[in-house]
C-alpha cells in the first residue's frame, strides 16, 4: 500500500484541516431499493469482531517473558549494612535493602518504634495508641477509623471496627494489623497460656507481633461471654495489657534485637 509522500510530513505538521467541502444531498440518495445511510458502528465487549485482537493480547500476556523481557539485572554492590541506629542487617543488593528499609524503617512510630506497612496504618496507630486527646474524644464519639483504604466509616470501639472489617470487608478475623490490646480478660491460667501463645505469634512466628499492629483498647470492658470469667475480670488493672503490646514483658526465650 503506497502512501502519498506528503502524508508523513502532514503528520508532523500543525493541527488543522482544510475547509470541508459543501454537503449537498439529493433526497433520492439511498431510497428504495437502495438503502445506504452512514452509520456509526459500535461493538460490545464479547463481540466476535474482537476475537483476533483479544487473542493477540493474551498471547502477549502469556509470553511476556520472551517478548518484553525479564527483570533487569539486579545491581549487586559490595556488602553494606543498614545505617539506621541499632539495625545491623547486611545487604548485597540494593533492591533487598530497599525492601528491608521500607518494611522495617519506613512507616515507623516514633513513640514505640513499631513498623507498619503503610502510612495510613501508622497514622491510625499513632492516634489510637499515643494520642491522649483521642482517648478523651473516643469516650464521646466514633473515633476508630476503618483500616481499609477508601472506607470512611468510624467506630466507637476497636471491637466494633474489627466486626466491620470482618463483616463488611471480608477481612480475616485474625488480621495481623488489627490486634487489640487486651486490657483484661486473660486472667485465668488458661488465658495466660493463651497470651504466651500469642506472644509467640499465632502464625507460628516468634515475637512477630511487636513490629506490626495498630490499635489499642482503652478501658474497654469486653463482653462477658460466660459466668466463669467474671470472677477474674477485674483482677487485672486496665492499664496493664496482656496482648501483643505487652509481649516485651513476656519475651520468648528467643530474644532478638527488635530492630532486625
Amino acid at each position: 500500500m503506497q502512501l502519498p509522500p506528503a502524508l508523513h510530513a502532514r503528520l508532523a505538521g500543525a493541527p488543522g484541516s482544510a475547509e470541508p467541502l459543501p454537503v449537498e444531498r439529493n433526497p433520492a440518495a439511498g431510497t428504495a431499493p437502495f438503502r445506504f445511510a452512514p452509520r456509526l458502528v459500535r461493538f460490545p465487549r464479547e463481540h466476535d469482531f474482537f476475537e483476533d485482537g483479544d487473542v493477540q493480547r493474551h498471547l502477549y500476556l502469556q509470553d511476556v517473558l520472551t517478548q518484553v523481557g525479564g527483570a533487569p539485572e539486579r545491581p549487586r554492590v559490595p556488602e553494606f549494612t543498614c545505617q539506621v541506629a541499632g539495625c545491623c542487617q547486611a545487604f548485597g543488593a540494593l533492591d533487598d535493602y530497599e525492601h528491608h528499609y521500607h518494611a522495617l524503617h519506613g512507616n515507623v512510630c516514633s513513640f514505640c518504634e513499631r513498623a507498619f506497612p503503610s502510612g495510613r496504618l501508622l497514622d491510625a496507630h499513632i492516634l489510637e495508641w499515643h494520642d491522649s486527646l483521642f482517648q478523651i474524644l473516643a469516650e464521646r464519639q466514633d473515633m476508630y477509623q476503618c483500616l481499609v483504604e477508601g472506607c470512611t466509616e468510624k467506630f466507637r470501639t476497636s471491637r466494633d471496627r474489627k466486626e466491620h472489617l470482618v463483616m463488611r470487608h471480608l477481612y480475616p478475623v485474625d488480621f495481623r494489623f488489627d490486634k487489640p490490646r487486651k486490657s483484661r480478660g486473660p486472667a485465668m491460667p488458661g488465658a495466660a497460656e493463651q497470651v504466651l501463645a500469642e506472644t509467640l505469634g499465632d502464625d507460628g512466628v516468634p515475637s512477630e507481633g511487636d513490629a506490626m499492629e495498630v490499635c489499642s483498647e482503652h478501658v474497654e470492658p469486653p463482653p462477658e461471654p460466660a459466668g466463669e470469667r467474671r470472677a477474674y475480670s477485674h483482677r487485672i488493672p486496665s492499664t496493664i495489657c496482656f496482648g501483643q503490646g505487652a509481649s516485651r514483658g513476656f519475651k520468648s526465650t528467643k530474644k532478638r534485637n527488635k530492630h532486625q
Partner: protein
Amino acid sequence: MWSRERGRLKPLRCGVEELRCRRREREAALRKARREQQLVSKRLLRDEALEEAEEGCVAVIFGEAEIQQFLRLAQRGTEEKEREGALVSLRRGLQRPETQQTFIRLEGSIRTLVGLLTSNRALLQLEAARCLHELSHSEQSAVVEACLPATSYLLTYLSGHSSDFIELCLYTLGNLIVESEAVRRQLLPQGIVPALAACIQSPHLTVLEALGYALSQLLQAKEAPEKIIPSVLGSTLPQHMLQLLQPGPKLNLGVAVEFAWCLHYIICSQVNNALLITQGALSTLGLLLLDLAGAVQRTEDAGLELLACPVLRGLSNLLTEAAAEAVGRQLQLRDERVVAALFILLQFLLQKQPSLLPEGLWLLNNLTANSPSFCTSLLSLDLIEPLLHLLSVSNVVLTVLCNVAEKGPAYCQRLWPGPLLSSLLDTLAFSDTEVVGQSLELLQLLFLYQPGAAQAFLQQSGLQALQRHEEVAQLQDRVHALQQIALHG
C-alpha cells in the same frame, strides 16, 4: 519518545519451528477459550537472573515431610540465612504442580506462609510473596483459591513503598483476580479498587505496568460492567490512567499497553462513556493515535500493534457516543492529522498484523460517517487510492467510500475519475453478496451526483458486470434500478 523498560529477549531453548508450532497451538486454544468466554491468562513474574542460577533445581517434587521441614526452618530457624534458604527452596519447589497440591493440602501451610508474608523480616516477606505468586499462577483452581487468606495483606501492602514487593503483590493479585468470580467477590469488599487508586500514583514503571495488568484483569471479568466498572469510574483511576497515556517523553510502552487495554474494557462495556469523554478520553486517545503513527515510522519496535489495537477500539467506540459529538466540534476531532495517522497505522498493520486491519477500517468508518471534515481530509490528502488497495481486506472500504460519496456532488467530483471505477468493476465480479451490494450502493450515489459516471460505467462494460447478479435475491432490485439509471439517466 518511546522507551522500552525491559528489552531483553530470553534465549531460545528450542527450535524456531517448534516455537511457531507451539504458538499456533496456543493461539487455537485461546480462540476456543474466547468463544467459550473463558479467556483467562496469567502472568508469571520470575526473576530471570534468579531462574538461570537455579536451573536444574526445579525438577524436584517435594513431599509433605520436606515441605513441613522447609516451613519449620523458615519459621523457627535461628540463622537468618537458614530461614531464607528454606523459603527459597520451597519457592523453587512450588513451581511444580504436584508440590503445589501437596502444599495446599498440608494443614497450616498457608497460615504459616501468610505469617511469613506479614513478618518483619524483609527478605522472608519477599520470598513468602514469591511463593504465593507461584501458587497464584497455577491452573488448578484449588491451588489458586488457597491463596485467598492472603489477599487482605496483599492489598494492604499496595500502600507501602517497596516497589519490587508491590510489583509482586500486584501480579499475584492479578492472577487471583482472573481466577474466579468467587475470588473477586472477596477482593471487591476488601477494597481493591481504592487500593489500586492509591497505588497508581507510584512513580515506578514496573509497579505501574503490574497495576495495569491487575486492573485489566479486573475489568475483563464477566461481571465487570455491573459490579466493578461503576466503582472504578467513581474512583480517581480513570484520570490517572489517562494521564499515564499522555504521549510524550515519559510514555512507556509496557505501561501504556496495559492501561490502553483497561480503557478499552471500560469503554466497550458502555457503562458511562460520557464521563470518560468529559475527562478527556477522546482527546488523549486521539493524541496517542498521532504519537503511535509517528512511532511506527521511527522504529522497528515489536509491540506497537499491542498498543494500536486498544487505541483503535477505544476511539471507535467512543465516537459513537452522543457526547462525542459535542467534543467533535473542537479542533481536535477535525484535525486531518488523525486521518493521516490512521493510514500510516493501516500500512503498518498491513505488514505487522493484518488481522487488525478491520479494526482500523472500523475507526475510519466512524470518523467519516457523519463528518464532512474527515471526508474532505480523505480526499485532500489523496488517500482514496491507498484505501482502494485495502478492498480485498474488508468491505468496510466500500462503506467508507459511500460515506464520502453520500455527502454530495462536491465529494463525488473528487472521487472521479481515478481508479475508483475499475475497482468497482472488480468488486462486481465477486460472488459475495455483501460486497456486491455495497458496490451497488456506491454506484447509485456516483450516478446521482457525478455527471458522466453512468456513461463511463457503460463504456467499461458495466452492464455486463451487473448482469451476473440479476437473479440474486438480495441484489435484483438494485441491479435493475442501476441498469435503468445507466441507460436512461
